[in-house]
C-alpha cells in the first residue's frame, strides 16, 4: 500500500497543541490539525464549545496559552505566527487572509460606500489607480450578486444578506489563500442563507481557497466543508470527512448533534 500524493502536499496551516486558558477555565485544549491548500474545514459545536476561541487563535487575533500555529507564507516557508514581524502580520491580514464575521458590521465600514469597502483592501496593498480600483470593485459586486448601481451606497442601506455578500467581496478581492469564517450565515433568514451558502460554495471552488468555517449549523458544514472537527468543552472529540462524520457519527455527542437536526 502506497500513500498516494495529492496535488498539494505541503500544508498551508499547522496547529499544534493549541490551548487557551482563562485562569482555571480551559476554553480550548490541545487542538492539533493540518490544513492543506484548497481544503475547507468546518469546526462545529455548540456555544461555549471553544470553537470561536480556536478560530481567534488560528487567525492570530488571540495568543494561545500553549501550542502554536504555523502558516506557509507565499515564499513557501512555514512560519510560526507568534514569531512574525509586524509587516508580515499586516500582509496576512490585508492580503493573504480573509476574515468573514458573523455580523457584517464588524467586517465592513458601514458609513462609506460599498465600492470603497471593496477598494480599501486594494489600496492597502498599494493599488492607486482609481479607475482600476472601481472597475475591480464593480466586478466583485457582480460576482457576489449585488447590483452595480448600488456601488456608491453605504452598506448601512443594504439588507443583511447583501451586507454579508459585500463582506465576502471585500475579503476576496485581494485573492487570499485562506479565509476564516465565523458563523457566516448566522443572523440571516433561511432563504437568504441558502443563496449565500451557494455563492460561498462556488467561490471557494472557483478560487481554490482554503477555508476554516466555524458554525453550529451542520447543514452549513455539509454544504461547504470537506472535513469537519466536532468540539465539545474545548476539545476536539471527533474529526473526519464531513459526510462520514455526519452520516456515521461515532461519538455520543456527535450523534446527539446529528440527531437534533430538524428534517426539512
Amino acid at each position: 500500500m502506497v500513500e498516494v500524493t495529492g496535488a498539494s502536499d505541503q500544508p498551508l496551516l499547522v496547529a499544534e497543541g493549541l490551548t487557551k486558558s482563562y485562569g482555571r477555565l480551559a476554553a480550548c485544549r490541545d487542538v492539533s490539525f493540518v490544513l492543506y491548500p484548497g481544503e475547507v474545514l468546518a469546526i462545529v459545536g455548540e456555544s461555549g464549545s471553544g470553537k470561536s476561541t480556536l478560530l481567534q487563535m488560528l487567525s492570530a487575533q488571540l495568543a494561545p496559552s500553549g501550542g502554536r500555529v504555523s502558516y506557509r507564507m507565499r515564499d513557501g516557508v512555514l512560519r510560526d505566527l507568534a514569531e512574525l514581524g509586524e509587516a508580515e502580520r499586516r500582509f496576512l491580514f490585508r492580503t493573504d487572509w480573509g476574515y468573514v464575521h458573523q455580523d457584517p458590521a464588524q467586517g465592513l465600514r458601514m458609513a462609506v460606500s460599498a465600492g470603497a469597502n471593496v477598494g480599501e483592501r486594494l489600496m492597502a496593498v498599494g493599488w492607486n489607480n482609481y479607475g482600476r480600483i472601481r472597475q475591480t470593485a464593480s466586478s466583485w459586486l457582480e460576482r457576489v450578486e449585488i447590483d452595480v448601481a448600488r456601488i456608491d451606497d453605504a452598506p448601512r442601506t443594504y439588507s443583511g444578506g447583501m451586507r454579508q455578500r459585500l463582506q465576502i467581496a471585500r475579503n476576496l478581492v485581494t485573492e487570499p489563500r485562506l479565509v476564516f469564517m465565523d458563523e457566516p450565515t448566522g443572523g440571516l433568514d433561511v432563504s437568504v442563507q441558502a443563496r449565500l451558502l451557494d455563492l460561498m460554495r462556488s467561490l471557494v471552488n472557483e478560487l481554490g481557497l482554503a477555508a476554516i468555517v466555524v458554525t453550529h449549523d451542520l447543514a452549513v458544514a455539509r454544504l461547504l466543508s470537506h472535513r469537519v472537527m466536532v468540539m465539545k468543552e474545548g476539545r476536539v472529540i471527533e474529526t473526519g470527512l464531513t459526510d462520514q462524520v455526519l452520516d456515521d457519527p461515532r461519538e455520543p455527542y456527535t450523534q446527539l448533534l446529528v440527531s437534533s437536526i430538524l428534517p426539512a
Partner: protein, 232 residues
C-alpha cells in the same frame, strides 16, 4: 484481469449511544473482488447491508475492521484506513457513487449539477456542459429543464439527473445504488445501455438492483450479502 476493488473481511457495527449504547451489527467478514469491466450485483433482502457496503467502499461509512483496497492512480489504497484527503482524492479520480436520491444544491442548474464532476476533473466548461446536455437528452430530460435547479423536478427526473451526474465521469469504479428504482421502461433501458458502455470501457461496477430483469441484463456475477450477516 485487473483487480479494481478488493474487500477483505470488512466489518461494520453501529453503536447507538442515544439508545443506551445498543450495538447494531450490520455486516462482518465482507470479502469479494471486482475486476475492470465487470459488474457485480449485491443481492439480499432489505436490511441485509447492501447499501452499507457501498457506503463503506465510498468512505461514507467507517469500517470497524478489515480492508477495502481500491486501485487508485495505479496503486492499491485502503479506503478503510485512509486519510480524508486521500479518500476525497479517490472520489475525484477513481470512485463514483450513484445514489437513489439526489442531494440537490439550491439554485444550481441541472446542467451544471451534471457537468460538475467533469469540471472537477479538469475538463473545459464548454465541453463539460455540452457532454452534460447530451447525457441529459439521452435520459429524456427535456432541454427546457436544463437551466433549472433539479430540486423542483419530479422524483424520476431527479433520479435521472443523478444518474447523468454519476455516469458522465470517466471514473474507473462506479457504485450504483438502485440506479433504476423509479424509472419507466424506456429510461431503464437507457441505464442498461449506459452500464454496458461502461463495461466496454473497462469500468468496474458494484450495483444494487431489485428488479430481476435488470439484474439479469447487467450482472456478470452476484454476491450474496446474507453470507455476511453479522451475528446480533
Amino acid at each position: 484481469m485487473t483487480v479494481m476493488l478488493n474487500v477483505e473481511n470488512a466489518r461494520k457495527t453501529f453503536t447507538m449511544h442515544l439508545q443506551g449504547g445498543i450495538l447494531l451489527p450490520v455486516v462482518q467478514g465482507v470479502s469479494f473482488q471486482v475486476t475492470a469491466g465487470e459488474c457485480v450485483v449485491l443481492s439480499g433482502p432489505s436490511g441485509a447491508g447492501k447499501s452499507s457496503i457501498l457506503k463503506m467502499i465510498f468512505g461514507n461509512y467507517r469500517c470497524d475492521g478489515g480492508r477495502i483496497s481500491v486501485r487508485h492512480q495505479g496503486e492499491m489504497i485502503d479506503v478503510a484506513g485512509a486519510e480524508p484527503r486521500l479518500v476525497l482524492n479517490a472520489r475525484r479520480q477513481t470512485i463514483g457513487y450513484v445514489s437513489q436520491f439526489l442531494r440537490a444544491v439550491p439554485r444550481v442548474a441541472a446542467l451544471d449539477v451534471v457537468a460538475e464532476p467533469l469540471l472537477m476533473a479538469g475538463v473545459a466548461r464548454d465541453e463539460a456542459r455540452a457532454r452534460a446536455g447530451a447525457l441529459l437528452g439521452r435520459l429524456n430530460i427535456p432541454e427546457r429543464l436544463w437551466s433549472l435547479p433539479p430540486s423542483t423536478f419530479s422524483g424520476g427526473e431527479q433520479q435521472r439527473v443523478n444518474i447523468a451526474r454519476g455516469f458522465i465521469s470517466e471514473l474507473p469504479i462506479l457504485l450504483l445504488d438502485e440506479p433504476t428504482a423509479s424509472l419507466d421502461a424506456a429510461n431503464r433501458a437507457v441505464v442498461v445501455d449506459l452500464i454496458a458502455a461502461k463495461k466496454q470501457a473497462g469500468v468496474a461496477m458494484i450495483a444494487i438492483v431489485h428488479d430481476d430483469d435488470i439484474r439479469a441484463q447487467i450482472a456478470d456475477r452476484t454476491v450474496d450479502v446474507t453470507t455476511f450477516a453479522a451475528a446480533a
